[in-house]
């Protein structure tokens, strides 16, 4: 019971952490060492017990909710935390100013340090809601990208990239012409578990951007980005993670 390999190297071998030379060395040793062979069998048995036993414990839903609330608090009022009590009046005034500025901001094109769109949030939501009225969703209803793409030909001064992502869980439903911010745009319609996602596409001269953080209003979420001379805005009532997934698929 004194084989040095049994005590340590065996574990590196079991865990696939030995380099090729040392692994080969150990395997060679294993052929002649009954002690190591037995020990390896035991370790493998222990490992499969550990992995079969469902010992892994996932975070409870309540914890997820608490954490989201914490993050909200830490994001929304980072300044207020360190403000002394006598300054609350000033804080209230600041909030009022911020609130009115944001109110006015919503009336104009969406503007922040990272993104500027040629349409307002209100126009974006209106266009999305309008498309959900009976008979308004698609001008060309087809799950075939090779039907939808040529359909736009001649109807717009640009050709929007059209791709079906049915395999990834976002089947293409169709396309239509729409107007956003006074501009003719292509609207690509995708579905996600009975939810509708509109992806508005229009040409731009602005440089590429990454996919911007989500926007949220009236229960609708949107993601905006620019890529290769096109401006994209995906909007839906699906969760942001779904929306982001589709945005990434289109972005590639």
């Amino acid at each position: 019971m004194s084989c040095d390999f049994t005590r340590t190297v065996l574990h590196g071998y079991l865990d696939g952490e030995l380099d090729a030379t040392r692994a080969a060395e150990f395997e060679h040793h294993l052929e002649g060492c009954r002690e190591c062979t037995a020990a390896l069998g035991s370790e493998e048995s222990l490992r499969s017990s550990l992995q079969r036993s469902e010992l892994y414990e996932n975070a409870p839903l309540a914890l997820r909710k608490k954490i989201r609330a914490d993050l909200d608090a830490a994001t929304a009022t980072p300044v207020a935390i360190r403000i002394p009590a006598w300054r609350w009046l000033a804080v209230a005034a600041t909030i009022l100013v911020v609130a009115s500025v944001s109110w006015f901001a919503l009336q104009r094109p969406v503007k922040d340090s990272a993104s500027t769109t040629p349409f307002t949030v209100a126009e974006l939501i209106d266009a999305h809601v309008r498309s959900l009225q009976p008979g308004h969703l698609t001008d060309v209803a087809s799950t075939d990208q090779h039907t939808v793409k040529p359909w736009f030909n001649g109807k717009l001064a640009f050709v929007p990239p059209v791709k079906d992502f049915a395999d990834e869980g976002f089947p293409l439903v169709g396309g239509r012409l729409d107007v956003l911010g006074g501009q003719n745009v292509a609207a690509l319609v995708y579905s996600r578990r009975k939810h509708i996602i509109n992806v508005f596409v229009m040409p731009t001269r602005e440089p590429d951007t990454p996919i911007h953080p989500p926007g949220l209003r009236q229960g609708y979420q949107w993601r905006h980005w620019r890529r290769q001379g096109m401006e994209y805005c995906a909007i839906s009532d699906v969760s942001d993670s779904d929306l982001y997934e589709l945005a990434q698929l289109i972005y590639q």
Binding site: S42, S45, S49, D70
Partner: protein, 188 residues
């Protein structure tokens, strides 16, 4: 989304940080909870500690410059757990990690398979191990971490992860097969 860590104060996190955090760190909440649950041996306590750790991670998020987000988060979770243990159950931390690795007859695979088939028994055996043994096992066997990740999470030098695991496994085998006769008869 890019170059977000320059020129801004440490604690003031904006919507972009939040979005990045949700993308990179929040998906590892299960890993965070699982590690703290096994370190603290209590679901209720680990809910509190995982929540605290997540908030700490968020506050330090500007200091995360890419790389392995899971390992980064688990490092914070582990530190938060140990701080909690020091305060609430200092006795548990008093076991020496560097105990000698005793040469001993290995337990047969069959005996281990029988002992390990019972989830309760396996869970209890794991809980009897000192935290520093328990954590390497949880990280390796439940979380599937590499030696490199284990080293960065637990602050053990990478060269000693292998022997730490060897010790921990030996302790677990012993704990599993040396269950008290009382317990063994209860299971029959």
């Amino acid at each position: 989304m890019s170059g977000s860590d320059q020129g801004k104060g440490a604690d003031v996190l904006d919507a972009q940080d939040r979005a990045r955090f949700e993308q990179l760190v929040l998906p590892h909440l299960d890993a965070a909870f699982n590690l703290s649950r096994w370190l603290l041996k209590s679901r209720a306590d680990s809910e509190d500690v995982a929540q605290e750790a997540m908030l700490r991670a968020y506050r330090f998020f500007r200091g995360f410059h890419g790389g392995d987000a899971r390992a980064w988060l688990l490092q914070i979770v582990r530190n938060t757990c140990y701080t909690w243990l020091e305060k609430n159950r200092p006795v548990e931390l008093m076991t020496e990690f560097d105990e000698e690795l005793h040469p001993q007859p290995s337990v047969s695979p069959e005996a281990l398979a029988i002992a390990g088939a019972n989830r309760e028994r396996l869970s209890r055996a794991l809980e009897t191990l000192p935290p520093r043994f328990r954590e390497v096992l949880v990280l390796r066997e439940l979380e599937g971490c590499s030696y490199k990740e284990i080293a960065s999470i637990t602050a053990i030098p990478i060269g000693t992860v292998m022997s730490a695991l060897a010790r921990a496994r030996q302790r677990l085998q012993r704990a599993l097969t040396h269950a008290s006769p009382q317990e063994a008869s209860r299971e029959l």
